[in-house]
């Protein structure tokens, strides 16, 4: 038994050993095999960088930063001063060549030198100056100014051009505010001349910033200069045409894949690429046409291909090709930029850039990869296969982005100039600057003011992009203009019914009445806080001030005599949550073009479409309060205040200019049917029933004034003039509750009160 026991122990010990060995043995080769397999089945034949087993040193020693600290004796302030003195001229940066102290916090003001007698100024430059003078940045006081703009025309610095201004050097030096160009901005479209087209302006710009077209990456000083697009004399001053894309077609391919039609230079700078274009021309969907016929003595330089090229060139129409091509080639000319770039952008023809070294327009803020194909002149022959490889989805996105960028930054001289100023303002204010997302997505940087908030979620435009939702409550702002005398006044009824809304966070009563504030106890007791604010100067515009007490994203704007039920408010708010960037209101109005009077007309008739909703009862994002107050010029706001009218029209103009979409009308209770119908049938031309309820008839109201309607007509035309076009858009749609007037039991309807008379 003893021996057997020993035998058993020996055996089991052996078993354990063997098992250990077995498992250990299996593990090693199997891991080895895995590695082996990976290197065979993978995309590479061998392990290229060996895994070194030595204990390697770290690149950064723990105490290195400390020891290095002892090496700096120079004070950081001195170091900054050194930078300022060292980095000049071609190495200018904001840190070294710009005086930030001249720009007080939150105050970016631009001074324009007064125009001197006898100085001729081109129309384009005149436009630029008048746009700056009309902008909210303008100041007449050089002491307040952060940025200076010359009244000397620097746009055309081609010495062979008739627009060329001579003796600029002395003229500039004689300006007593010049200060070696510090905080100056110089606009330029053309520089240098035949044959080398250097980018020299012909005078010493000192420490001035350049806003220059066709600027090359070598000359361009990042975050200091601004690259602007080349625009023609005919480029509209304000407004400007919209992009040509009217609807999206899917699949997004057009008749041609890639087109070009332009001059060929044969020799000299910029001729190489255009001379080689014929290699990729296939006469079918890639149509690249050049002509040698330009200049006086083209016959002298012409080569063997000229005749053939010229003949082919004449067969096609530039406009036709532009509008019917998916991609447009934009090769460099003598200079790096060309008019073609903007033309292609507007025509929704995706630009294919072949201009090595061109710092693209507004490159500091625009991500051009989303709207253009950046090609390389050296790889011309690959261009057709490159554009063919681009997926349909990408083409669709590129094309839409061309339209967004065109309308946001390029469609008028005004947009180009304002974008330039806003870019510089962003650099100056730093904390209050736009993120890349704000510049590159709808509605663009000119309408998204960073002074409003640093948080993207505070704007109405980025909810979907960020995957968030607006705050699910609203603040009601009631505009009170009549004293509180009786307890049956409509404002009190309104207060109660609005306060009952489940989405109401608070009510602000804006006391714009000359009489003193009523005592607190005169306001009805409500479940939500009621805040009474005394209106600033008691003017109309104060109803759209960005009050800090408005904490919700949504604002319900109300006139004191508005009649609204809680159900109506609830429903409108749920609609707004789906369209947070738009105006959601009840009574709607429309505009039309009066061809007899050649001006815009305003109508309150019941029509099949509308383009405005009255802000006497409308829900919108609180950002529009900020935009109304800070974006619109004093002239328009002043007009509104003076007339005590049109503030709603102006708000509609503003929101539609931003969104490019109509407001949204929701259904409302038809309370005073007979009055309304009577008026409609008589088809009154004036606007006595401007409001949808008869409160107005009982007392003297601004709405009953016969001038009121005429004023609104005038307002519309004034506003359209400032916006450079008519931003309002018509809609034929009204949003009703889902079961509205359907033949089902009223008990099944959530918003049943809206249907009840």
């Amino acid at each position: 038994m003893q021996a057997k026991k020993r035998y058993l122990i020996l055996l089991s010990a052996g078993t354990c050993l063997v098992l250990l060995f077995y498992f250990g043995g299996v593990q090693l080769p199997s891991s080895g095999r895995n590695r082996h397999d990976r290197s065979h089945n993978g995309y590479r034949p061998d392990q290229p960088w060996p895994h070194f087993s030595d204990p390697l040193q770290q690149f950064l020693l723990w105490d290195q930063p400390d020891t290095e600290e002892y090496n700096i004796h120079i004070s950081p302030r001195q170091k900054r001063d050194v930078n300022t003195s060292v980095y000049k001229g071609k190495r200018c940066r904001m840190d070294s060549c710009f005086d930030f102290s001249a720009c007080k916090r939150n105050d970016f003001k631009v001074y324009v030198y007064p125009q001197q007698k006898g100085e001729k100024i081109s129309e384009s430059y005149q436009n630029i100056l008048s746009i700056v003078e009309g902008s909210r940045f303008y100041t007449t006081d050089p002491g307040q100014a952060c940025l200076f703009i010359l009244s000397l025309d620097t746009l055309d610095r081609d010495s062979l051009s008739p627009q060329y201004v001579h003796n600029l050097k002395t003229k500039v030096q004689n300006l007593h505010l010049w200060n070696n160009g510090r905080n100056h901005l110089i606009f330029n479209l053309y520089s240098g001349t035949w044959p080398d087209y250097t980018e020299d302006l012909g005078f010493d710009i000192g420490q001035a910033m350049l806003a220059k077209a066709s600027i090359s990456t070598e000359i361009f000083r990042p975050n200091f200069d601004v690259s602007i697009p080349l625009f023609s004399k005919e480029h509209p001053r304000t407004g400007g045409d919209r992009g040509y894309l009217k609807y999206n077609s899917i699949p997004p391919f057009r008749k041609y894949m890639l087109v070009f039609k332009g001059k060929r230079y044969l020799t000299g700078i910029g001729s190489d690429t255009r001379n080689a274009l014929y290699h990729v021309h296939n006469q079918e969907d890639v149509v690249l046409l050049t002509t040698c016929k330009h200049g006086k003595d083209w016959q002298k330089h012409k080569d063997a291909r000229c005749e053939k090229d010229n003949a082919e060139y004449d067969k096609y129409d530039y406009r036709e090709m532009l509008h019917n091509s998916t991609f447009c080639l934009v090769p460099r000319g003598r200079r790096l930029g060309s008019f073609r770039f903007l033309e292609a952008l507007q025509a929704a023809c995706v630009p294919v850039m072949l201009s090595n070294g061109w710092e693209l327009p507004f490159s500091e803020i625009i991500n051009w990869n989303t709207a253009a194909v950046i090609g390389d002149e050296r790889l011309l022959l690959q261009i057709p296969s490159t554009v063919r490889s681009i997926h349909q989805d990408k083409i669709l996105a590129l094309r839409q982005q061309t339209q967004f960028l065109w309308e946001a930054y390029f469609s008028s001289v005004e947009k180009i100039v304002l974008t330039t100023l806003e870019i510089i303002q962003d650099r100056v204010l730093q904390q209050e600057s736009r993120s890349t997302l704000m510049w590159n997505s709808h509605p663009g940087g000119l309408f998204a003011l960073p002074q409003y908030s640093a948080h993207l979620g505070d704007f109405p435009f980025y909810y979907a992009t960020l995957g968030i939702k607006p705050y699910p409550k609203f603040t009601a702002v009631i505009h009170a203009v009549t004293p509180l005398v009786s307890q049956s006044q409509p404002i009190l009824k309104l207060l109660v019914s609005v306060a009952k809304s489940q989405y109401c966070a608070q009510i602000i009563v804006l006391w714009n009445c000359d009489k003193p504030l009523p005592a607190k106890h005169r306001w009805p007791a409500t479940s939500v806080p009621v805040i009474v604010i005394e209106g600033e100067n008691k003017v109309m515009s104060s109803r759209f001030l960005p009050y800090e007490t408005i904490v919700t994203d949504a604002v319900l704007s109300l006139d004191e005599d508005t009649v609204l039920s809680t159900t109506e408010v609830d429903f409108a708010f749920t609609v707004w949550q789906s369209f947070p960037e738009r105006l959601v209101g009840y009574p709607a109005r429309s505009h039309f073009w009066d061809s007899n009077k050649e001006r815009w007309g305003y109508t309150s008739k019941w029509t099949n479409d509308y383009s405005m909703v009255l802000t006497g009862a409308a829900i919108y994002h609180r950002y529009y309060h900020f935009l109304y107050t800070n974006f619109l010029p004093a002239s328009l706001k002043g007009m509104v205040d003076q007339l005590a009218n049109c503030e709603d029209i102006l708000m509609n103009f503003l929101v539609s200019a931003v969104t490019k979409l109509p407001p949204i009308k929701v259904t409302q209770k038809k309370q005073y049917k007979e009055t309304m119908m009577g008026q409609v049938c008589v088809n009154l031309t004036n606007d006595l029933f401007e409001r949808w309820h008869p409160m107005t008839s009982s007392r003297a109201s601004r709405w009953a004034d016969p001038d009121h309607f005429a004023q609104r007509q005038t307002c519309m035309n004034k506003f359209a003039n400032w916006f450079g076009g008519m931003p309002l858009v018509h809609s034929q749609m009204r949003l009703d509750p889902v079961l509205f007037k359907d033949q089902v039991s009223i008990l099944r309807k959530k918003y049943r009160d809206i249907e009840r008379l």
Partner: protein, 570 residues
């Protein structure tokens, strides 16, 4: 992977007590099985072990085995970096070619040990752990090629991460000796600590011809926009310390300064801020009374109170990252890892990967001059924004800072994006954290357009065999003025569609479609919805309570004046 490994580790079965008679039988049986096992083990083990030792040999390779190269004093030195270099002037794009994947090929030179004529190495540290990790990552990536003739980008194995450990002139000579150097064309150097005392240049001082520089600490004067790549300074703590991600929100401190090497002028200003704002600020410095050792890097002190670093960073909303002798600071990485919003005070500094990353969403940049106003500036930032920046900061670290591999891959992707710009990563891909990527809605038709009526619409009618119903639909729909085209999809394999030009008349057919009343039909559709939702991983449908009607819908108004009078007449 982890889960499957658990099953194989079960121990052997217990040997049961049994009668002596059977014992021998069992022992024999057991022995046979054992022998079998041993045999299998041997069989499995031996043939592969030969290979595996070879593999081990490769893995055990030492940096000291690398060939030794002696640099003659007279060897040429490359020119200093050309500040005007851009991709179209200094980069040979022909080497990258056109390929369907739009991916550049990267070659890594094999390791060599360079020494000067007397045998002194060109670098005091040789290959660092970090550079080794970086090169391993590149060689494991899809960018790698071992075919030098097909390469678009060349990465030398000479480690220049830290200029302090380099002999400038000899390193430059070594670079020039690389077989494909060719004026540094298409060569990429990684450097994190540039410059040296007393001036601390903001770019690597090693002359390098036209080579691209991925540098940490570029200033706007040395950075060649669109050519160089600005990279972070890797923090060794990234690998050593694990900080769990914290929910964004307010923290114990408002501002925290944790750097130990801060110029006394700036420290004085920070202390002034501390006096004014008290508890909201925590101003840490190195600990003077700690026992020496590596641990000192992991401790910070305030008036004798000891804090764990970098854990303490998680206790603050904002963390100061001040320039030191150099602009790039490893602290930035620690701060991001902690999900603390970096407050960067380094004038003219080019932020890491600024070509693609939107730092506005993850940091606050304040001019050094405005350090005294820091508190007021930060206080003006809305809470929701602070929370978003905290989340964004952590995401930047996870994606682009956390390892040498992340830094290397990001750098290569940026260069790749320049060479194939039409296939470049989008802003959203670079900047949106996974949470946002999931929840955001990006409509492919994002342009606000109200299309004109003129192109009309195409009606697509799906049909099986109910011809009469089909004809009724066609007749009705063809009355619509905006109809541009009518497409009938014949979804029936058994019958062929009716031929010829049929005159479409509305036949007398039952008005109400019985199908949707069918109970099983509804059940099936519910199942569909559940199935789709599970595949989408979420319920993409949204509920609204509104419906679009024509403006004058059901209004008490003459019908003949309405644009769409017949809607809802059913």
């Amino acid at each position: 992977m982890c889960a499957s490994g658990k099953y194989s580790s079960r121990g052997p079965a217990l040997i049961p007590r049994m009668k002596t008679k059977h014992r021998i039988y069992y022992i024999t049986l057991f022995s046979v099985v054992l022998l079998g096992l041993i045999a299998t083990g041997m069989f499995q083990f031996w043939p592969h072990s030969i290979e595996s030792t070879a593999d081990w040999g490769l893995d055990r390779r030492s940096v000291h085995d690398a060939p030794l190269i002696r640099l003659p004093v007279s060897n040429p030195i490359p020119e200093r970096g050309d500040l005007s270099c851009r991709m179209h002037t200094c980069f040979d794009v022909y080497r990258c070619g056109y390929n369907p994947k739009n991916r550049i090929k990267v070659y890594i030179y094999p390791l060599q040990r360079f020494v000067d004529e007397v045998g002194v190495p060109i670098s005091s540290t040789g290959l660092s752990r970090e550079y080794n990790n970086l090169l391993s990552a590149i060689s494991d990536s899809e960018f790698y090629t071992d075919d030098v003739t097909r390469a678009c980008l060349f990465v030398p194995s000479i480690d220049v991460l830290n200029q302090n450990s380099l002999r400038i002139r000899e390193t430059a000579q070594a670079l020039a000796m690389l077989p494909r150097w060719d004026k540094g064309m298409n060569h990429l150097l990684f450097n994190m600590l540039p410059g040296g005392p007393p001036d601390y240049n903001t770019a690597l001082d090693v002359p390098r011809d036209r080579a691209l520089l991925a540098g940490g600490g570029f200033s706007t004067w040395t950075y060649r926009q669109g050519y160089d790549v600005s990279i972070p300074v890797y923090s060794p703590l990234s690998a050593d310390v694990e900080l769990p991600e914290r929910q964004p929100g307010p923290r114990r401190y408002f501002i925290l300064s944790s750097q130990t090497a801060i110029h006394r002028e700036y420290r004085a200003e920070l202390e002034r801020l501390k006096e004014e704002n008290g508890e909201a600020l925590l101003l840490l410095d190195k600990c003077s009374n700690l026992s020496q050792g590596v641990a000192s890097a992991r401790k910070r002190c305030y008036k004798g109170q000891v804090f764990d670093y970098p854990q303490i960073l998680q206790e603050s909303s904002f963390c100061v990252v001040l320039r030191g002798a150099r602009l790039g600071q490893a602290t930035l990485s620690d701060v991001l890892q902690a999900g603390c919003v970096p407050v960067i005070l380094a004038d003219s500094y080019i932020l890491p990967f600024s070509e693609v990353l939107d730092w506005k969403r993850a940091s606050v940049v304040i001019p050094e001059e405005k350090l005294p106003e820091m508190y007021t500036i930060l206080k003006s930032i809305p809470h929701r924004q602070v929370e978003e920046m905290q989340r964004q900061a952590r995401w930047f670290w996870d994606a682009y800072f956390s390892s040498m591999k992340a830094i290397g891959m990001t750098t290569l992707q940026i260069i790749n994006d320049r060479i194939y710009p039409y296939a470049a990563c989008t802003y959203e891909q670079w900047n949106n954290p996974p949470l946002v990527k999931w929840s955001s809605v990006n409509s492919p038709l994002f342009l606000p357009l109200i299309p004109p009526r003129s192109p009309g619409f195409t009606a697509v009618v799906l049909t099986y065999d109910r011809i009469e119903s089909l004809f009724r639909v066609i007749t009705e729909i063809s009355k619509v003025p905006s109809l541009a085209k009518l497409l009938v999809v014949w979804n029936n394999q058994n019958k062929s569609p009716p031929e010829g030009e049929k005159k479409f008349k509305c036949p007398e057919c039952t008005a109400i479609d019985g199908l949707s009343l069918d109970q099983t039909h509804m059940v099936e559709r519910s199942e569909c919805i559940n199935k789709f939702a599970s595949v989408f991983g979420t319920m993409p449908l949204k509920v609204v309570e509104h419906r679009a009607d024509p403006v004058l819908y059901k209004d008490d108004f003459p019908e003949k004046l309405k644009s769409f009078p017949n809607i809802g007449s059913l």
